[in-house]
Each structure stands twice: as structure tokens, then as C-alpha cells.
């Protein structure tokens, strides 16, 4: 695909069509084996080939049309925009920026009530799949944000601490019958402990190497969970995990259950709403603790470490203990999220804690604009909520036929979105940061001026 030269009179059509033809040829060849043909098993269980020429040609036509639109419309426009000076932020945008966070917090607090009013029948699904599910990821994102966003250490094995929290809660609650409120801090402590154990040897590595080692540790923990059948029951997982109670009152249909005690008719929605507020409280706690930590010397040291490790060391900051605190505090929040997850599901298995999950959390943090808390929330809604929405799109079956399953495309679109957002907004969705220390006045810093850490 040769570069298209755009002059002030507009694009030249000769190169544009040559470019489109090249795109068509390349995409045809690329998709020919995997889309043009499909391998299926026949009656004798032997692989045979079927062809899908229509699909192949539709796909190639779509890609070519997209490339044409890009070269004819988008490229000239962005070339023109590059000449113009960036418009100053209007007061409306600034006002939205100021009121956005309080608005979001208010909205998530009234969300279950709002949903119950709007869709009384399907409220359970909306609070559970969208509310709780997204909030778990916000919590994980905020926890990892301490490690990646503040301290600048890329951790690709964060899910290990999530797993430690979940298995601690599941095993201790099932074996000793401890309550959720007792085990929640304990699970957090255990995860933080594991954060120190795993963090200690790896933290002298930098950048990509650190990322890969944490990935390896994450996978080792998952493989141990799979193979240590005596303790964890292997692939089969642990089921029948005790659910959290309303400060001692269980959510069940019995006489001492929540509904009976408060004289309400029994429905499962009470538990869901309770869980929703529980995870919301945990999320707000995480956010609050992070905000306060940023003001403490240790938080300032994290951010200094992200900006320049060598400068930090020459200023006498102990980089090892600074990194370890970031790692273990991040791990602790992962442990909280894990024990909440185990309590909410009632069932856990090692397959939940795979690399894809770590990648999702990292994606949420990075796409949110590393270090920005509201960015993490926005990214979690976009990535997790967006892919959850795909499960709901059953009407697409009417268009594409019954065997079309939109849920199948969830991770496909997720990966694609990661690439696209990185290409077009590599600094993430919310890419301005408020400096944590300012001499006289506070100015928002554009992400372009912030250096990333060297982990």
C-alpha cells in the first residue's frame, strides 16, 4: 500500500485506485485460506474442504471500500486538520470535565433503583451482568492501575492475585466456615503476601522483561491450580462456596432469611442488589485509597519511579521497596476483587484466571489512559459492557440466520478494539492528568508531555 500524496486540490485518483486494487489483492490472498475455505468433518470423520466464496468476496469488498473511504475522505481531512492550530478547550467541555466524576458516582449509586424502575422484569440481568460484572473489572482495573498507571510496572500476571483472593476465600470459607467479612481482609492480605513473594525476585527487571516474567508467574499459578487436584479440585473447580450474608442474615427463602426478616416477598434480586452495593463500596474504597496514597510520600515515589527510575535512585529513593509496595497494594485490591468474585459466583475454576483475563485488565488500564481513575471506569464500561452487549444482540439472528451467534465475536472484537484504540489513541481514552504536586497553580498536563516509566 503506497503512501498517498494528497495535494491541496484533493487526492489524485490514479494512485488511489491502484492502492485500492492492491488492498483488494492483498486481502483476497490473506483471507483466501481461512475464509475462502472451511475445513469440516464429513460422515467418516475425515476432514474435507468446503468453500465460502460469497463470504470471501463480501469481506474483500468491505475491506477495499474501507480503504477507499480512508484514502479519499479521512486522510485529506486529517492532513487539513494538522495545519490548523488545536482549538482551545471550550468552557462547556471544562464544565463537563469538572462535573463528570460526581455525576458518574451518583449515577452508579442510583443505577439499580433506576433499572428496577425501568425494566422491572429483566432488572436482575442488568444489575448482575452489567452492573456487578463491570464493577468487578473497574475494581481490578483500579488495583492494577496502582501498579501499571502509577508505578509504571507492566504486570501481565495480575490475574494471579485475583485467583489467590478467590481461592483463599473459597477454601477457607468451605473448610473452616469463616464469614465473608472476616475473609475479605484476609484474602487481601494473602494476595498482598503473594505480591511480595512474586514481586521480590522480578522487580529488578525492566519494561517488557518484567511484563513477560509476571505473565509466566500468572500462568504458573493457574497451572498449579489446575494440577494440584487435592487442594483445588483441578479443572472441576470448587462449587458451593458460601455466599455473603447481609451482616449475618442470609439471602434465602427461609424464615430467618433476608426477605422474611424484613417482611418482604422473596426474590433473588435482593442478593444481587446487595452484592452490587458491596462491590460498589469496594470500588469506591479502592479509588479513595489510591487518591490518598498519591498524596503520600510513597505515592509520589511511585510516580517519580514511573517517570525516571535512575533519577529516583540518585535521589535516594529505595526503588525496590517502592516497587514492592506498589506491587503488593495492587495485589491486595486484586485479592479483594477475587474473594468478592468467588462469593458472588459460588463457583470458581482455574479457567477463569487465564491470561486473557490479565490481558483484559491491562487493556482496561492502558485504554483508560494509564493513571487515570475515571479513565479506568470508562474503559471498563466500554470493553466489558461492550462485549456483554453482544450477548444480547439476538435480533441479529434474524438477519444472518439461526446459527449466527454474536457472542462468538466478543473476543474477536475485543482484540480488534485493543489494536484500533492503540493505533488511534495510544495515550488512552482519558489522556490528561492532574499533577499530584504543583507549585502555585494546577494545570492539566497533556499525556504527550508525560514520560512513561521504565518499569
Amino acid at each position: 500500500m503506497p503512501e498517498i500524496s494528497t495535494t491541496s486540490t484533493g487526492p489524485q485518483f490514479g494512485p488511489v485506485f491502484k492502492d485500492a486494487a492492491a488492498t483488494a489483492a492483498i486481502s483476497f490472498l490473506m483471507f483466501l485460506p481461512l475464509i475462502g475455505f472451511i475445513t469440516v468433518q464429513d460422515i467418516r470423520n475425515v476432514l474435507v474442504l468446503d468453500t465460502r466464496w460469497t463470504l470471501l468476496f463480501i469481506l474483500v469488498a468491505l475491506i477495499t471500500a474501507g480503504r477507499l473511504a480512508y484514502t479519499l475522505v479521512l486522510l485529506p481531512r486529517s492532513a487539513r486538520r494538522a495545519h490548523r492550530a488545536p482549538a482551545p478547550a471550550s468552557p462547556i467541555v471544562a464544565a463537563i470535565g469538572r462535573w463528570f466524576t460526581p455525576f458518574v458516582v451518583g449515577f452508579v449509586i442510583v443505577y439499580p433503583i433506576l433499572i428496577m424502575g425501568l425494566v422491572p422484569g429483566g432488572a436482575l440481568k442488568w444489575v448482575d451482568n452489567f452492573g456487578i460484572q463491570i464493577l468487578i473489572y473497574v475494581m481490578l482495573g483500579l488495583g492494577l492501575n496502582i501498579v501499571v498507571g502509577l508505578a509504571g510496572l507492566l504486570d501481565l500476571g495480575y490475574v494471579a492475585f485475583y485467583a489467590v483472593g478467590a481461592y483463599s476465600y473459597a477454601l477457607l470459607a468451605k473448610t473452616f466456615g469463616f464469614s465473608f467479612y472476616m475473609l475479605l481482609p484476609l484474602a487481601g492480605c494473602l494476595a498482598a503476601f503473594w505480591g511480595i513473594i512474586l514481586g521480590f525476585p522480578v522487580l529488578r527487571l525492566r519494561g517488557d522483561y518484567l511484563a513477560i516474567v509476571t505473565l509466566a508467574f500468572g500462568e504458573i499459578i493457574r497451572l498449579v491450580l489446575v494440577n494440584w487436584v487435592d487442594l483445588t479440585n483441578g479443572y472441576a473447580g470448587i462449587s458451593g462456596i458460601p455466599r455473603p450474608t447481609f451482616f449475618g442474615i442470609p439471602f434465602n427463602a427461609n424464615d430467618d432469611g433476608f426477605a422474611a426478616v424484613f417482611g418482604l416477598p422473596f426474590t433473588p434480586i435482593y442478593r444481587t442488589i446487595f452484592l452490587y452495593y458491596l462491590i460498589l463500596a469496594l470500588v469506591l474504597l479502592t479509588a479513595f485509597v489510591t487518591i490518598r496514597l498519591r498524596r503520600l510520600p510513597v505515592g509520589r515515589a511511585w510516580e517519580a519511579l514511573r517517570e525516571d527510575e535512575i533519577a529516583c535512585r540518585s535521589l535516594g529513593i529505595n526503588t525496590t521497596s517502592t516497587k514492592l509496595t506498589a506491587f503488593s497494594i495492587g495485589a491486595m485490591f486484586g485479592g479483594f476483587a477475587g474473594s468478592f468474585f468467588a462469593a458472588r459466583q459460588g463457583f470458581i475454576s482455574p479457567e477463569t484466571f487465564n491470561f486473557l483475563e490479565s490481558a483484559t485488565i491491562v487493556a482496561i488500564v492502558v485504554l483508560g489512559g494509564m493513571g487515570s481513575q475515571i479513565g479506568v471506569a470508562v474503559a471498563a464500561v466500554a470493553m466489558v459492557g461492550g462485549t456483554e452487549i453482544l450477548r444480547e444482540l439476538d435480533w441479529l439472528k434474524d438477519i444472518f440466520g439461526q446459527e449466527f451467534d454474536p457472542g462468538q465475536y466478543r473476543m474477536l472484537l475485543f482484540g480488534f478494539a485493543m489494536v484500533i484504540i492503540m493505533v488511534f489513541k495510544p495515550r488512552g481514552l482519558v489522556s490528561t492528568r492532574e499533577p499530584s504536586v504543583a507549585l502555585t497553580e494546577r494545570k492539566m498536563i497533556s499525556a504527550g508531555m508525560v514520560k512513561e516509566g521504565h518499569g
Binding site: M1, I26, L29, M30, L32, P33, L34, I35, F37, I38, T39, V40, Q41, V46, L47, V48, L49, L154, P201, V202, R204, L205, G207, D208, Y209, A211, I212, V213, L215, A216, F217, E219, I220, L223, V224, N227, I310, F355, L356, A359, V362, A363, V366, Q408, Y409, M411, L412, F414, G415, F416, A417, M418, V419, M422, V423, P426, R427, E452, H454
Partner: protein, 305 residues
Amino acid sequence: MEVFVQQLINGLTLGSIYGLIAIGYTMVFGIIGMVNFAHGDVFMVSTFIALVTLLIVTTWIGISSVVIALFIVLVVAMTLTSLVNWAIERLAYRPLRGSFRLAPLISAIGMSIFLSNFVQVAQGPRNKSVPPLVQGEFILMDGGVYQVTLSYKQLIVWAVTAILLAAFWYVVSRTALGRSQRACEQDQKMAALLGVDVDRTISITFVMGAALAAVAGTMYLMYYGVVNFNDGFVPGVKAFTAAVLGGIGSLPGAVIGGLLIGLIETMWSAYFSIDYKDVAAFAILAVTLIFLPQGILGRPDVEKV
């Protein structure tokens, strides 16, 4: 003794495959300092391209000679996989050059997720198996109960790997293209000032890495006869381990590392526990990075302010 020799043969075969993939990692890391996370999935895509080509060649065209069929499959898989990796580099990595440091890694992780799910959607989640292409074996040692055998397909894996590595080594060390690659590896800006087309050189690096991954993919398909959309991640991590173990950036290191990882994995499965064989690979990765980050043949990395 027989068991050991047999595991040695199996390990070298597996190690050749890892070595071929590892070269892709080590070259890309050497030239642009990026862990090409999607490389394992490019390998997986190549196994599927090889599978489809094999089915076309054997059932549609009806070529019965195994050698010709394998040759066609190899060439087609190398060409198309290179094209795929070239397009990936153009779309997902090149726009990020000069962006912040983690951006290409995140983009590569996204690409890895995209590729494996694309193959799952396009070809289905089931294992795809083909009947064995090459049968027959030499009996090297006969210890009564246990025979040490060297199958023809293992020989083919060794031979193809050796031939392609030799060709590849020739390109990198004796041609103008290889010279500009090594120049870009040392100092991109200086290379550009001296007239090396850096973008083109990086593209070619990706193409060469993909071509070798496709060789590995074809060999994998011929050797195991089963492919799955999920087969990219673990071989990818193991090959990366191999690249790190051999010293990332070093081409002979990647091959040696690949052979070592293959040997360790088969020996571990034979003598310790097959359940924990992936744990062994990951543990080696962690231990190497922590204690020997420059690898066996790599240069130590000097920290600059």
C-alpha cells in the same frame, strides 16, 4: 539409556520447531525492541494455512507424492503467512513506532487475541486432524523391550529446519539485506542517514520471521497431525522462552535456546511429571530473566541515562 536416547530424538525435533519460531521473536526484538506477542498466533495461523493447502493439494488436485505435496504446502504457507504478518506490521505496529513504549506490546496482545479468535470463528473451535502424511521409521537401538526409533517425519523436520536455517543465515550474514538489518539493529537513525530504508527493513524482518514460523507451522502439522485455534499461545511463550534463554537478539542463540527448551520439555515429561511440563517452561523463563537476562549468547545490556 534407550529412553534417554529416544527422548533426545523427540526433544530435538520439538526443539527445532521452537527454534524456528524463536527466531521470529529474537529478530523483531533485536530490530525494534518489541516483544511481538502475536508471533505465536501467527504460527498458529500458519498451521491452519498449511492445513487448508494440504487438503487442497491432496484431495482436490490429487497429488500423491508426499515430497511434492509437502513442498507445495511449505511454499504456500510461507508466502501467505508472510503476507499476513506484513499486513499486521503495517496496520498494528508501524503506526505506533515512536509512540510510548508499552503501546506496541498492548497492540500486539490485542492482535494475538484477535488472531486466535478470528481462526476460531472462521474455522471452528474443534481440533482438526489429518491422517499421518509420512509413516515409517528407522530402528536405531533395540533393547528388547524398548526400541529407539527415528521416524521419517522427525528426519524431515530436522532436514527442513537445517536447510532453511542455513539459507536464512546466509541472507542475514552475507547479503545487503542482512547488512541493513544488522545496521538497523545497532542504530536506526544512523542507518537511515546512511541510506537504509528502515521501514522496509523492518517489514522484511517481520516477513522473514513469519516465513520461518510458517516452516515451523508446516512441520508441526506434519509431525503432530492435529491443529487447534488455541495452539498459538503456549508454543509462542515457549519459543519466546527459547529466544530469551539463548540471548534475545542473537540468532544462533534462538536456535540453541529452542533446542534446549525442546529437550528440557521432553526430558521433564519423561522423568518428572507430564502435568507440570508447561510449569517447567514458564519457570525456566522466569529464572532465566531474573538471573541471566542476557541469555547464553546475548550481550549484557548496559543501562544508559
